[in-house]
């Protein structure tokens, strides 16, 4: 369970006050709201990214463990973004191996299996620039899951894709997340992206 309590985010011209938000394992909570309201800032706070221009107070816990003061690398929360953010100097295989923990058994075989499962076995040695948008989006999700996170954040992961690809990548994402049974938060502008509960941040907006 991912829980946010007593969160206050003070921006330059407005603030968000969120008494409580929680996401159960296997559930995807969708955040919507006008541009600039603070959706991505909220996601970054959950991830643990310092935000010098926003004053933030609140508590965050995952499966009962308080994460509020923990740095990003100790939170065990994955991130998938609109740009996919695959490391351009690494091949697809290297991106996945980079994410897979060193202690994992048979890392190479795991990578091969994952690439095979998405029909991209022959792209292991390709660089991200050589992939299509849909292929990049799939690899980005696989990479996030490779580190065995306990929760995942999705920051407009489908908005750079065309309508046809969007549907297939969306289905792929939901099926992977259903298998992983972890709480997830999604930021999107498109209501069609939302697979479950939707929270409109405008309800928590104050001048």
């Amino acid at each position: 369970m991912l829980e946010i309590n007593h969160l206050t985010m003070v921006f330059k011209h407005h603030q968000l006050v969120i008494p409580k938000l929680s996401v159960a394992p296997g559930q995807v909570l969708t955040l919507t709201g006008a541009s600039g309201i603070g959706k991505s800032s909220l996601l970054q706070w959950v991830l643990g990214v310092p935000q010098p221009n926003v004053a933030i107070a609140g508590e965050l816990s995952l499966n009962g463990v308080d994460l509020t003061q923990r740095p990003i690398e100790q939170r065990n929360i994955g991130l998938v973004t609109q740009q996919a953010d695959l490391f351009p100097h690494m091949t697809v295989q290297q991106n996945l191996l980079f994410a897979r923990t060193a202690q994992s058994a048979d890392r190479q075989a795991w990578v091969a299996e994952q690439l095979n499962s998405v029909g991209l076995s022959e792209y292991g040695d390709a660089y991200p620039a050589e992939l299509s948008g849909g292929q990049r989006a799939r690899i980005a999700l696989l990479r996030s899951l490779a580190a065995s996170p306990k929760s995942i954040l999705l920051d407009e992961p489908f908005s750079a894709l065309d309508v046809k690809l969007r549907t297939s990548v969306r289905e792929f994402t939901w099926s992977k997340l259903a298998d992983a049974q972890m709480p997830a938060m999604l930021v999107t502008h498109d209501p069609a992206d939302a697979p479950g509960e939707v929270v409109n941040l405008e309800h928590y907006y104050y001048d």
């Binding site: 970054q44 991830l47 643990g48 990214v49 310092p50 010098p52 221009n53 003061q69 740095p71 990003i72 690398e73 939170r75 065990n76 929360i77 994955g78 991130l79 973004t81 740009q83 953010d85 490391f87 351009p88 100097h89 980079f98 994410a99 923990t101 660089y127 620039a129 990479r143 996030s144 490779a146 580190a147 996170p149």
Partner: protein
Amino acid sequence: MATTLPTLTMNRLTRAGLALLWIIVPLVVIAWHVTTTPLNASIGSAWEGLGESAWLTLLVTVLTSVVVLFAALAGSRGRHLNATWASFIAVPHVAFAIGLLWLVSPSGWLVRLVDALLPAWQGPVQSSWLSAKSTLTLLVVLILKELPFLLLMAQANIRQMPIARWQQQALALGYSQRRFWWLIVVPALLKPLRLPLYIIAIYTVSVVDIPLLVGPNAPALLAHQVFELNWQFSAGDNDWVAWGALLLVLLAFISLLLLRGLEWLLQRALGRCAITGRRSQSGGTGGNASSKPWFWTLLALAVLTSLILQSGQQGWFYPALWPQGWQWERWLSEWPYIAPLLYNTWTLAVFSATLAWLSAVILLELQAQRQQSKLNAAWLIMLIIPQLVLVLGWQRQVGPDNSFVWLLWSHTVFCFPYAYLTLHGAYLAYPRRWLWQARSLGYGPWAAWFRVLAPMLKRPLALAWAMAFSISVAQYLPTQWLAPVTHPTLTTEAVSIASGGDWRLASVYALMQWVSVWIIFMVALGVTRARN
């Protein structure tokens, strides 16, 4: 907030430490020197002795800056210079001047070439205006050496402008390419070029090594004259040195005011032209020769060839196009003298470049964490104070022949702003989300920096180090005034030999200086070649 408070404090302490090392201490030493130096001579007598030099310095500074500005504005329309051109900018001034002088002097290679092609020509050129050591030669050397720097700065800014969209609009409205460039792009370019232009102006006000080689002697440039006076030991000369240093600061200020005025006038004139609605008839797509990469390749090759031939020639009398005899043994016989200089130069350059580079990276990392994406001009302050004034103050406070540590510190003070300037664009434009990705996968901040950011920014990081290295190699005044006996370098020796008139031997030292920088740039470009 418990963990962020120490981080913030650490960040502030680190910034304060960097500022202390590279800005505050250098300036406090100067301030101390200025306030404790009595000015015994009257300003009238000082002006009588230094006035002519001051006027000449102002003239050379303004002319160099204006010509470089207009050539860069016109030239940046051409093909874009790339990273390789950074290596041309980094060619040490002294090596460039020694090579260029043989090329363009009244009995030099170009004149000999004209002589060979035009039998009617009566050479060599006889005019004091065009003599090897003259104001005109000085201007040519300074302009050719400074122009690539401003061109690169102009093109870096142009790349960030939506030029294609502006051009489409202007052409659709019936404007020619040339009018579009001067009425739309140039006004937008003037402000971002202000700081690089000021850096060029201040460099010109206070440069000593180039005037020593190719500048006029009567009157000499003010920095040149103050440099000479500082070797005298009479009290009167010392007073003039103090007045000279003050005059240099004043000249620097006046030059910047004049350049600011010129910018204002140019903005107004172009603005008025733009609202007349007048379209020119001609297409006007031709650019300035300086915009063409081949021009710079040819120039660099000609200067390099001139240095190589000079370093090996035994006799080369007018009007012979090629040397009449060779004496390559000069290289071998000079090696015992060159080797220790090479060691001094490289040691100093490696350490100061590394210190400067580390400082620049730390500073930029802190800026990036605070989401400050703009260049902080305060860190470049050492480039907008005449170098002679700074080094003079340091010399007077710490003594003329000091430990390696002071020399290293003085070099780093000047290498640091260039490392910061070279790296800031790429570093602050780097999308931090890649680092968050790595950290969300379980990597700590150091691991994320080394495994994700460093490989992606390897070329700008390497070029920034190489640039800092080349700046240290080219330093003349700090080495000459702070450690001339204990740590002479290739640059100080090349200037001494060339100003003594032995251009053949000076070419050997200049080549070693050039090769040192060239090797570093080639290695930096080679090892950072992108595979993907």
